[in-house]
Symmetry: C2
Subunit: 398 residues, 2 copies
């Protein structure tokens, strides 16, 4: 079926226009279109039909597809198209994807490569569109109008409250990004924290900030190492925190991650795992996996929960699960607006394809969170039951 015929079958709620290389076009709905998409070459059209999102993303990056208007709504249309069977990649394309995907498995060496491919793009680049604390995970908005800076600090505070941090706690963090959580927890809660990350650039930034802020090494320690090394010397912690790492762990390694949590968290200690989620198990998007997050896997809630239920003699309790889905849509809106403001600067250094790659990624993700595909889950665990814990979650909202 020709692409316009497929699109005509969708009940997309907003008006848009699509122009094909042969000059034909389709105007959907009435009123001002939210986007005008021009597929400019036959190659681009054929790639979209054969490869789905991968073909689309690559053609957009090499400027054979142009978009005026909001790329988020294009992605939303893409999700709707993927729900039909008409535009899914061919069997050979799927096989190719699986072959490449498994070549990027998250062994220790594989994880290092996968993480560095994205997070070592340059701290200067990320500082152009992240907040001051360089939080590259979902913010927490008390109000739709909160600034990104405010919402990111609120996220850090929310995480601290969820694991009930208190002065003197020992904390381990798996996947610390640019180190913002450790700085916040040390400053506001007086904890002693060790933060792991395998991104060289991020750890260097975190250590520089530590020096600049004169935070003693005895309080915060940034470790350039894999989360799988946590607990390898038998050390224990009151609290385990992981914000935005699980997406890179790979489903096959969840069991091992929970083994570590069970092993290193003190009895009646707590853990939080904060991760992007899906409403059902599904392989990652091929374009996203290839260009943005190699080796990623986005878990469903059952993906997250099932592994530790089978830990022999385990004592982990799910205390609280919160879905912050819409907060990530808002976060991504902020990131994208900042990216566009700096597009000219980024284009000069990295080229047009790079700008388009990041625009598509941020807008496709926003569409995912805004329109049903993705969730954001904060799962709080207790190691053993603590009968002195607060009875309600009121302390999160004081």
């Amino acid at each position: 079926m020709a692409i316009l015929d497929i699109i005509k079958t969708l009940q997309f709620p907003l008006p848009f226009e699509i122009h094909l290389p042969d000059g034909s076009h389709h105007k959907h709905g009435s009123g001002e279109p939210v986007f005008v998409m021009r597929i400019k070459t036959d190659a681009a059209l054929s790639d979209v039909m054969r490869q789905g999102s991968l073909g689309f993303g690559e053609a957009y990056m090499r400027e054979e597809i142009d978009i005026e208007g909001d790329v988020q709504e294009v992605s939303r249309l893409g999700y709707a198209l993927m729900e039909t069977d008409a535009l899914t990649p061919t069997f050979m394309e799927k096989l190719k994807f699986l072959f490449v995907y498994f070549s990027r498995r998250n062994t220790r060496e594989g994880s290092r490569k996968n993480i560095q491919a994205h997070y070592d793009l340059g701290n200067d680049f990320y500082s152009l569109w992240l907040d001051k604390e360089m939080q590259y995970t979902c913010a927490y908005f008390h109000d739709f109008k909160d600034s990104l800076e405010k919402a990111q600090l609120q996220k850090l505070e929310h995480v601290c409250r969820k694991v009930r941090l208190k002065k003197g706690d020992t904390v381990v963090e798996a996947g610390c990004g640019w180190g913002g959580f450790a700085r916040y927890a040390a400053k506001h809660y007086g904890v002693k924290i060790r933060s792991y990350n395998i991104s060289q650039e991020q750890i260097e930034y975190a250590r520089e900030m530590q020096k600049k802020l004169k935070i003693p090494q005895s309080q915060v320690e940034y470790v350039l190492d894999d989360y799988r090394s946590i607990g390898s010397s038998g050390e224990k912690y009151d609290k385990f925190v992981s914000v935005g790492m699980l997406e890179h762990v790979g489903r096959e390694n969840y069991y091992g991650l929970y083994e570590i949590i069970q092993k290193v968290v003190e009895k009646r200690g707590m853990a939080i795992v904060h991760s992007i989620g899906r409403r059902f198990p599904r392989k990652p998007d091929p374009w996203l996996e290839k260009y943005i997050f190699p080796g990623c896997y986005i878990p469903s809630l059952s993906d997250m929960i099932t592994p530790f239920e089978s830990l022999p003699g385990h004592d982990l309790h799910v205390v609280d699960v919160e879905n912050l889905r819409y907060h990530y849509a808002l976060t991504l809106d902020h990131w994208w607006m900042r990216l566009e403001k700096n597009a000219e600067k980024i284009r000069k250094q990295y080229g047009e394809a790079f700008v388009r790659m990041f625009r598509l990624y941020l807008r496709a993700a926003a569409a995912g969170f805004r329109y049903d595909e993705l969730t954001l889950l904060q799962v709080v665990l207790s190691n053993g039951s603590d009968n002195t814990a607060p009875l309600t979650r009121k302390h999160l909202y004081k």
Copy 2:
């Protein structure tokens, strides 16, 4: 291995005494024992060794085992014993259990029998130890010292807030007990609610209360029917509420339950499923299943979540999961104390075995919630994503 030898290997934290029929005894720990258990006959001892909790419970009921002190702590010892492999039922006993268990499967007819066996024991009996609203599910304590009456009203309010009830909402309730939730939601939120139950006695009580309180039929309707009939005429609701029914649904029927939720809840409507849970999937306790809740299955969180993730094209979002484990221990303490106050009265009508059966059930359950075995999960779902929903859960704690 003899039972005393097994018990000696346990690191039980409190002092206790066990006396065997041959006159031998074991004193564990030092100080005042929390319980003294007398196994009075060889038959009782042999039943415990061969059948585990089933043998123990039956021997206790026929007064061949006596207990002075807190039966909760005996059950705690029982859980610890079951963790060792020494005292698990023999293969033949397990086979016998499975045979009987499957004979009590929750077909429509089976569910009716299973539910009536417990819930139709007599409204007068239950009113001796439940609160005024006859809430036979976990209460919600803001403070450890809250009365049961207060905590049960707080539970009803918490559930209303979690599904964001508002005036004019249409609500369906699956498994309504004696109808307290419907009365509360109608009175305090002005909703229109239809509540299903297959317990004849409970529905009769609920209808009498409705008459007494002059609640119009147009606002609350109690339906003596199976939850599987919900939505059978194509009717839709804004909210779906189920408090304490899932335990009786049977794991094989969860998928069907979620199909109903998906079908009957309006887009952007909400559902809550409140259920006892386990930290990992496990068959029910044979004694509990035989004497208290025939056909019951207590799900783990993954048991609860996994089925709807595979609903084709489903649109259910997990919005919130809260574990109220310790609240159920407190609730059960209250129920048990009221039961003991009325023990003489109950004994006269139902006999000593019945009193012992309920005592063991309430104290074993309290031990389960207090010491790690059991959880209480409130899972809130949204049907489709609602981008106008409150960003935080603050409204639960106003």
